[in-house]
């Protein structure tokens, strides 16, 4: 056997002399070349975060314009068509281009650091999922900016989305854009799953993973299985619109409800997928500020998974009013009531952590802690709609709009902002301003509740959702005015966040490696971390490697300064799925243009499909095929082929 096939990795301490060597192996080359070819998870993570924030602002501005239209009865700022495109684009942007990618961004950035690894399992796939996300986002927004934005709400019911009732390009942009975006989510999910299961540091058995990892892992497993449903639905819709198939139109035997089933089989697991990682971030960060471990780690991890498993079986609660038989409805109603239980576990675990810990009130803490109550408000309104007869009254009113904003803003936006405050020092080396942070928090908190708490009442007073205007004399005027004012206060809060980020980038206090004295691995490396993350691969002996001396949880201690060196090539360690026993040395790929080329090829293809330029479709497909071929071409450096040349086996 060749010496390059099997090796005993050297074990040693972190040596300053080895850093330049690691740097030369892992650093992205400067300039545009590096920019377009990097596979560094940290850079990709930050790109995800920044891009998603841009979409949050775009979606937020759309919302603000809507709120101006709804500020009083019978306003004519917007035409019905403009309003319809705005609310649909707002929903699409927030759900697909902000809420999910922002969490992918944090997970991308943090995972290898949390797991004690040097990169994601498939770094090039990681780059690909970002480029596709960007391209699909641009694709969808080209539609919106040319007046062809989606105009049938984010869940896009047929037959209104079919060509008979919706002849423009709007729905073609949306359908194709969603199929396009689905590719990004799918490859991203695959990457997260393999990363979590195969690249954890030695000793980080599955019951020592941070909850964020559980959250994103669960979300990714779900995405892998449900995204095809929505991609398929949108593809079939596009076929119906452009090629005269009859999947959905009733006049030829098509089933409008088939759309709803396919959409919500995807949709409900998806709404959990866009909060579980955020709940995970809270579960990891709250204990830091409570100065104690999370209460009920195993229960919280279990409840994360349980939420998702139950989450596969509740989709019909979005279809209670479609005339399905009562027996079926009662099953889904029961399941939707039952699904509160795992959420309750997480809520009580957080409360107990706060109660039994010694809370330190910082801005990040405020965002995470307020999330608890916002989640409960959003959760109980979901509990109300879970009861079928009640939902027959509540559905499609502003009550549901209030529900979805409490859950989405409450357990996505708030923890995400908390995460910005919490991990900003790690990402940039500087702390964010706490004083401005307090202003930031209180404006967002007050603005949000001002806008959306009264909205429950608007719903109970019967205001239907998705109306471009309303008559006066319905009892909704004052409430809508308050909501509009609250929205602007909330927007100012977001603005303060942006200001704080920009200011702190330059002027923030220097953070040091572990400003919060937090327990997990990312805080054991410098801020910002070096391109290779860990100079030696640590060995983990507990859930809180940096708190071990104080918690005295385990006999053994994690070893952070002494470990596997792996400095002769771009390498990291592969470990077994459950116990994280090292079982192979992973050769990591160099930077590559292939992901970008695939994304460009796909963009050409999708643009061709949209405009029916078949030559463009084929050219794009060819670019994609060739890029993938070159990508997968077995490489010596990655040990994908024989024979390994003698020179490589020399060191090691």
């Amino acid at each position: 056997m060749n010496a390059a096939d099997v090796r005993t990795p050297t074990v040693g301490t972190v040596a300053e002399v080895s850093r330049p060597r690691l740097l030369s192996l892992w650093e992205t080359s400067p300039g545009l070349k590096g920019f377009f070819s990097t596979v560094d998870h940290k850079q990709i993570g930050i790109r995800y975060i920044v891009t998603a924030f841009v979409f949050l602002i775009l979606g937020g501005i759309e919302a603000l314009v809507m709120r101006l239209q709804l500020i009083g009865p019978d306003r004519t700022l917007l035409t019905p068509d403009q309003y319809d495109q705005l609310f649909s684009t707002h929903g699409m942007t927030m759900i697909f281009l902000y809420a999910s990618p922002i969490l992918s961004g944090f997970s991308n950035y943090l995972w290898p650091l949390l797991l004690g690894s040097r990169d994601m399992a498939f770094p090039r796939l990681n780059a690909l999922s970002y480029w596709i996300y960007l391209a699909a986002g641009i694709f969808l927004y080209v539609g919106f900016l040319t007046g062809n934005g989606p105009n049938d709400g984010w869940f896009n019911y047929v037959p209104y989305a079919s060509r008979d009732y919706n002849p423009g390009l709007n729905e073609d942009f949306y359908s194709l854009g969603m199929v396009f975006l689905g590719l990004s989510v799918t490859v991203g999910a695959a990457n997260f799953i393999v990363t979590a299961l195969r690249t954890r540091a030695p000793g980080m058995s599955i019951n020592r993973m941070p909850i964020l990892v559980w959250g994103t892992l669960t979300a990714s497993a779900a995405n892998l299985l449900v995204v095809p449903a929505v991609s398929l639905a949108f593809f079939l819709l596009w076929m119906d619109r452009q090629f005269g198939t009859h999947f959905f139109d009733a006049s030829n035997g098509g089933q409008p409800l088939l759309w709803q089933h396919l959409f919500w089989i995807f949709g409900h697991p998806w709404v959990y997928a866009i909060v579980l990682p955020a709940m995970g971030m809270a579960s990891d960060a709250l204990p830091v500020f409570c100065r104690r471990p999370l209460v009920g780690y195993s229960l919280v991890a279990l409840s994360t998974v349980a939420t998702m498993i139950l989450g596969f079986g509740v989709w019909v609660h979005h279809m209670f009013a479609t005339g399905l038989p009562s027996l079926g409805l009662s099953f889904f109603s029961g399941a939707s009531i039952a699904i509160t239980v795992p959420s309750a576990v997480a809520v009580f675990a957080w409360l107990a952590t706060l109660r039994l810990g010694r809370p330190v009130i910082t801005t990040a803490f405020l965002f995470f802690a307020s999330m608890i109550v916002l989640f409960v408000i959003g959760g109980v309104s979901g509990f109300m709609t879970a009861s079928v007869p009640v939902d027959w009254q509540l559905t499609d009113t502003y009550f549901v709009v209030a529900h979805l904003h409490y859950v989405l803003i409450g357990i996505n936006v708030f923890p995400v902002v908390g995460a910005v405050y919490f991990w900003f020092p790690k990402m940039t080396g500087r702390l964010m301003d706490e004083r401005l942070g307090r202003w930031n928090f209180w404006t967002m908190f007050i603005g949000f509740n001002l806008a959306f708490l009264p909205m429950h009442l608007t719903g109970l007073l019967g205001m239907p959702r998705r109306v471009y205007t309303y008559a006066d004399g319905m009892g909704w005027d004052t409430l809508n005015l308050i909501t509009s004012i609250g929205s602007f206060v909330l927007a100012i809060g977001v603005l303060l966040l942006i200001i704080n980020v920009l200011r702190s980038l330059k002027r923030g206090a220097v953070a040091g490696d572990n400003p919060w004295d937090a327990p997990t691995l990312e805080w054991s490396v410098s801020s910002p971390p070096p391109p290779y993350n860990f100079a030696v691969i640590p060995t983990i002996a507990s859930r809180h490697p940096l708190w071990e001396d104080r918690l005295q949880e385990s006999e053994a201690r994690s070893s952070l300064n002494c470990g596997l060196q792996l400095q002769t090539a771009k390498e990291t360690i592969g470990t077994t799925a459950l116990d994280a026993v090292p079982d192979m040395i992973l050769e990591m790929p160099e930077d590559s243009f292939a992901p970008l080329c695939v994304a460009i090829g796909l963009s050409v293809t999708f643009a061709g499909l949209l405009l029916k330029g078949w030559s463009a479709v084929w050219i794009g497909a060819l670019i994609v095929a060739l890029s993938i071929l070159s990508w997968l071409w077995p490489r010596r450096q990655l040990r994908e082929r024989e024979p390994a040349p003698a020179s490589e086996s020399a060191h090691g």
């Binding site: 990795p9 000793g203 095809p228 999947f247 396919l262 360690i573």
Partner: protein
């Protein structure tokens, strides 16, 4: 004094060896997702079949004349691809080349026959929701066959270039696994569209 736990693994394989390696995990996730895609297609079929009144099937007794032999052909091609993979494992390069080459040809023949099968159908895809589903499902499968053919062609090429050995062959295993998947999926599609009508579904 507490001791610190340092992992000191010995003799670790470097890079993918045999069928161990991240690549097989990656392909497994890809296949899970693809399997989900097909299950939604089949779900659509059964859903429509259940909620639509009688007379939904445009061909209450689908002709098996082409479909059945073609199914057998595809399954055999899977076996041949497996035999080709054995060739890599046993360092018999010619066996591998024959295996991948013949599997490729059989797959291509399957595609060709399927093409005729489509033309032999008495309806076209715009005839009804049944027709649309039939063509989209078999069409999706065909797309996967085409990708599979590309994969087999690449494996053939790489074997010609003598890239693989029993140790360094994850690409082969993953590619052949994909081909098995394409064939297994066809079994489900075939059963759904050609067999269940005889069992009474949707008649």
């Amino acid at each position: 004094m507490v001791e610190s736990a340092i992992a000191t693994p010995r003799d670790l394989p470097v890079g993918p060896t045999g069928r161990k390696g991240l690549g097989s995990w990656g392909v497994a996730t890809l296949i899970a997702s693809e399997a989900a895609l097909f299950s939604y297609l089949l779900f659509s079929y059964y859903y429509d079949g259940v909620v639509t009144p009688r007379g939904w099937l445009l061909e209450p007794s689908p002709s098996l004349k082409l479909a059945l032999p073609n199914t057998i052909l595809l399954l055999l091609s899977s076996a041949v691809a497996w035999w080709g993979e054995r060739g890599i494992l046993t360092r018999r390069r010619n066996q591998a080349l024959w295996g991948f080459g013949i599997a490729f040809l059989m797959g291509a023949l399957f595609a060709l026959v399927q093409w005729f099968e489509w033309h032999a159908k008495p309806y076209h895809f715009g005839a009804s929701n049944y027709a649309s589903l039939y063509f989209i499902t078999t069409g999706f499968h065909m797309a996967h066959v085409l990708v599979g053919l590309l994969v087999l062609a690449a494996l053939f090429l790489w074997t010609v270039l003598d890239y693989f050995s029993p140790r360094r062959r994850l690409t082969v295993t993953a590619g052949v696994f994909y081909w098995h998947f394409v064939d297994v999926v066809w079994l489900f599609v075939f059963t759904t569209y050609y067999i269940t009508p005889y069992l009474g579904f949707g008649r």
